[in-house]
Symmetry: C3
Subunit: 305 residues, 3 copies
C-alpha cells in the first residue's frame, strides 16, 4: 500500500482510506473482519463523521475495532463535525462538544484528524481557531482539515488558525470531476467550464493541502455507482478495455484514475465488501498513462476542447 | 441603533443606512419627515447615487435635509458614480465631474464616502487613483468604496489606490443570496453552486472590506419584494413563525437575517415608509440563532447539501 | 503599427499577430506574399501551434518565409505545444520533443516564445520548470507563456518556474467576451454572470501577463465569423454605423474593439486574405470612445445590468 503525507509535513497515511459511512450495514463481527481485512491490505486510515448513521457508525467501529487486531497507534482515525439537523455549525461550543461526543463513541483518547464537514456560512474563524487550539493542547485532536471547502473559505480560516489545514475532502471521481473539468474547459461557453468550486484543486496544490476524494465511484450526490450502470455504458466499456490491458478490475482502474492525478489525492472508499476493497487497494500498483487517464475522462462524457 | 466601522478602521456608521433611490416619491416636506424619523431611529447613514431619479433624489434630499433637523456633521452621506446612459465610466474626468455634480445637487461641501457604482470593464486603475487622491486632498470625499465588484476587480484597483476600499455594496437578502449559497453548495453539480461573484463575500471578510447589502427585501433585480409575495409562501410562513417567536415583524426579521451574518454587513434599506423603517431599525435588537438563520435560508428555496 | 511589450518587461511585438492556423490554405508562393504583406503592414509577430494543419502550417511557413523578404531577426515567432491526439501533455519529455519538432518544421534555431496550449489536468509543474530551463539555456526558446489558462493554473506553474509567464492566449472578441461579461454582471442571477475562467483577465492585468486574443471574429468555438452573419444583425448594424463614423471597415472596428481594452491585448488574427489583413492592421489607428465600446458590447447581445 502506497503511503502519503497529508499536507506539506503532516501525518503519514495510506493512500486509500476506508470510509465508514455505511458501517452499520455490518454487525460488530463483520465490521471487525472488514477492519482486519483493510489492515491486511495496508489500509490503515479510517474516515468517520459524527453524522454517519447518526453516530452509530462510530460506535460500531469502536466495538468492531476491539474485536479486530487493530491497535490504536497502528491506525489513523479521522472524523468530521459541523453538520447539524437542518444547519451547519462551526461555533466553538459545537466543535468542542462534537469532539467529546466523537471520542466517546469511538472509545478513543484522541482523533488523528478532525475535519469541518461542510462550510458553515456563519463561521466565525476566531471561534474555530480557539476550538482547534484547545483540542490540540488537550491532545484530543492531532491534525485538522476541512471538507467541501472553496479556496477563500479555507483562506479565511487559515488566516487565524495556528494549525495548518492539512486536507480538504471533496467529492471526486470519474463521474463527478468538476474540479478538473472546469479547468480543462476554461473560457469555453458551456456548462463544462462553469466554476462551482473556486478551483479548489489548484488552490490545494498551491498551498500543500491534500485532497481526499469522497464517493469516488458515485455520480451525482449519492445518486448511484457508475460501475456497471447502464447510463455510463461508454465509460464502463473504456474501463473494461483499459482494465483488461492492466490485468485489473474496473473498480481498481476507477480508483487508479484518481490516484493518477498529480495532486496526490487520498481516496476515501466506502465499500463494505472485502473483495471490492481488495480491488481498490490494488489501484496503488497500477500506473495509468496520461493517455489512458484522458480516455477515461472522455468516456464519462467529459469534454476536451 | 447598532454602530459599526466601515472597513478595518474607517468611519463609524449606523448598521442601517437609508437608501434614497426612491426619495422622489416624497415631496420635500415628507422627505424631511422621513429624515427626521430615520435620525430618531438612529439611522444616520444615507445612501445615494448620481443616477437615482436622474439626480433628483440628491436634490430632494438636500432640500429636505434643510427642512429637517439634520446637521451635516451628524449624518453620513455616501453617493455613487460611474454609471452613464448605456455604459460605465471610471475615467478620471468622469469621476471628478460626477463628484462636483453630486456635491452641488446635495448642497454639500463633502461626501463621507464615494462608491464606484458598477465595474467599468474599461477601468484604468491609475486614473481612479488620481481621481481619489485629488478628491481626498481637496476634502471633497473622505472615504472610498465600490459596489457590485468581484475580488480581482477590487484587487486591481487597490493595487494602485492610496486609500483603502472601505466597502463593497452588493445585492444581498434572503431571496438573492448567491454570495452565501454558492459557498454552502461548493462542488455540487447544480446551479446553486455556480460562482457568479468570485466569492466576494469571503474576499471582503479576508480584506476587511465591509459589505453593504442593497435591495435587502427584493428578489431578482428589482423584480419585487418577497415579503407577503405569493411566490414566496414557505419563506413568508417561516418568517412569520420565527418573527412571532421574537415578537417582531417579518420585515424586522428579514433585516435581522442579514445583520446576523458574521461578515457584519451594513443594510441599505430603501423604504420610504416610516412604519417599515422603524421595523427595519428594530432588527439590531434581534438575535437570530444559527438554526433560525438556516431555517430562513432554506425556506426561501435555497439548498443545503 | 502599434508596438507593445509582452508581460512587464518582455519582448517588443506588433499589436497584431498573424495567426497561421490556416496557412495550408495557401501554396508556398501565396504564403510568402502574405508574409511580405503582413510585414509591410507592420505585423511582424507570427502565431503557430504544433497541431495547426498537423504540423503542415509550420512547414509551409518555413518554406514561404524563405521565399519572402522576412529575416529571422525581424520577426517574432511563437508556437504552442501540449495538445496531443485525445489528450493534453505537459510532461518534460513531450515539451522537449515538441520544441525540437517545431524548430525542425519551422527551420529555425529558436522560438521567440513557446506557449503551453491548453491546461493539462495532469501537469507536474516541476517538469514544466525543468523543460523551460533547458529550453532557455539551450537558446531554443526565448520567452514563455500559456494559452487558455485560469488564474490558479498559472499560479501553480509560476510558483516553480524560473521564467515569468509573459502571455495567456485566450479566445476573446465581441461575440465571445465572457472574460469581460461576467465581470460586468457580477452577482446578477443570470448566465451572463457565471464565471467560466476564474476572472483570468483581471488576474493577468494584476500580474502583468499579456492577453493574446485568439479567434477575434468568431462566435462559439470555431462556429463561424460574426461579421455579416445573419444571427448577429444588431451587432453588424452597430458596427456599420460606428465604422462609418470612423471611416473604417467593420473588420477594422471589431479589431479596434479588442485593442481598446486597457488590458492592452495583442490580437492574433488568422486571416489569410491580404485585404482583410490590411483592415485589421488599420485598427491600431482607431480610437474608440468608451461609449462606442459599450455600444458594440451591447449590440452583440451582452447585458449591462
Amino acid at each position: 500500500m502506497k503511503q502519503m503525507t497529508l499536507g506539506a509535513d503532516g501525518p503519514q497515511v495510506s493512500a486509500i482510506a476506508l470510509g465508514c459511512m455505511r458501517l452499520t450495514e455490518l454487525d460488530d463481527r463483520q465490521a471487525a473482519s472488514l477492519i482486519d481485512h483493510a489492515l491486511a491490505l495496508g489500509i490503515s486510515a479510517f474516515d468517520h463523521a459524527d453524522i454517519y448513521g447518526g453516530g452509530e457508525c462510530e460506535r460500531r467501529f469502536a466495538r468492531a475495532a476491539r474485536l479486530s487486531g487493530a491497535r490504536r497507534e497502528g491506525v489513523f482515525i479521522q472524523s468530521k463535525c459541523g453538520i447539524r439537523r437542518g444547519y451547519y455549525d462551526f461555533s466553538f461550543r459545537h466543535i468542542m462538544a462534537s469532539v467529546d461526543d466523537i471520542l466517546q463513541r469511538l472509545q478513543c483518547d484522541y482523533l488523528d484528524m478532525l475535519l469541518l464537514h461542510r462550510p458553515d456560512a456563519l463561521v466565525e474563524p476566531q471561534e474555530v481557531a480557539e476550538a482547534f487550539d484547545r483540542l490540540q493542547v488537550s491532545g484530543k485532536v492531532r491534525a485538522f482539515g476541512v471538507s467541501n471547502h472553496a479556496p477563500l473559505q479555507m483562506a479565511l480560516l487559515q488566516k487565524v488558525l495556528t494549525q495548518p489545514l492539512r486536507v480538504n475532502q471533496m467529492q471526486f471521481g470519474i463521474a463527478h470531476c468538476g474540479m478538473v473539468r472546469s479547468g480543462i474547459n476554461v473560457n469555453v461557453q458551456s456548462d463544462a467550464a462553469v466554476d462551482r468550486d473556486g478551483d479548489t484543486l489548484n488552490y490545494c496544490r498551491l498551498h500543500d493541502i491534500t485532497l481526499q476524494a469522497w464517493s469516488p465511484f458515485q455520480f451525482g450526490m449519492f445518486s448511484g455507482v457508475f460501475l456497471d450502470h447502464p447510463d455510463f455504458a461508454p465509460l464502463n466499456q473504456a474501463l473494461e478495455t483499459i482494465a483488461a490491458r492492466h490485468g485489473v478490475s474496473k473498480t481498481t482502474l476507477a480508483t487508479a484514475w484518481i490516484l493518477r492525478h498529480p495532486a496526490q489525492m487520498q481516496v476515501v472508499a466506502g465499500s463494505m465488501n472485502a473483495e471490492r476493497l481488495a480491488q481498490i487497494a490494488q489501484a496503488c500498483e497500477v500506473s495509468l498513462s496520461r493517455e489512458e487517464w484522458y480516455q477515461i475522462y472522455l468516456a464519462a462524457g467529459n469534454p476536451l476542447p
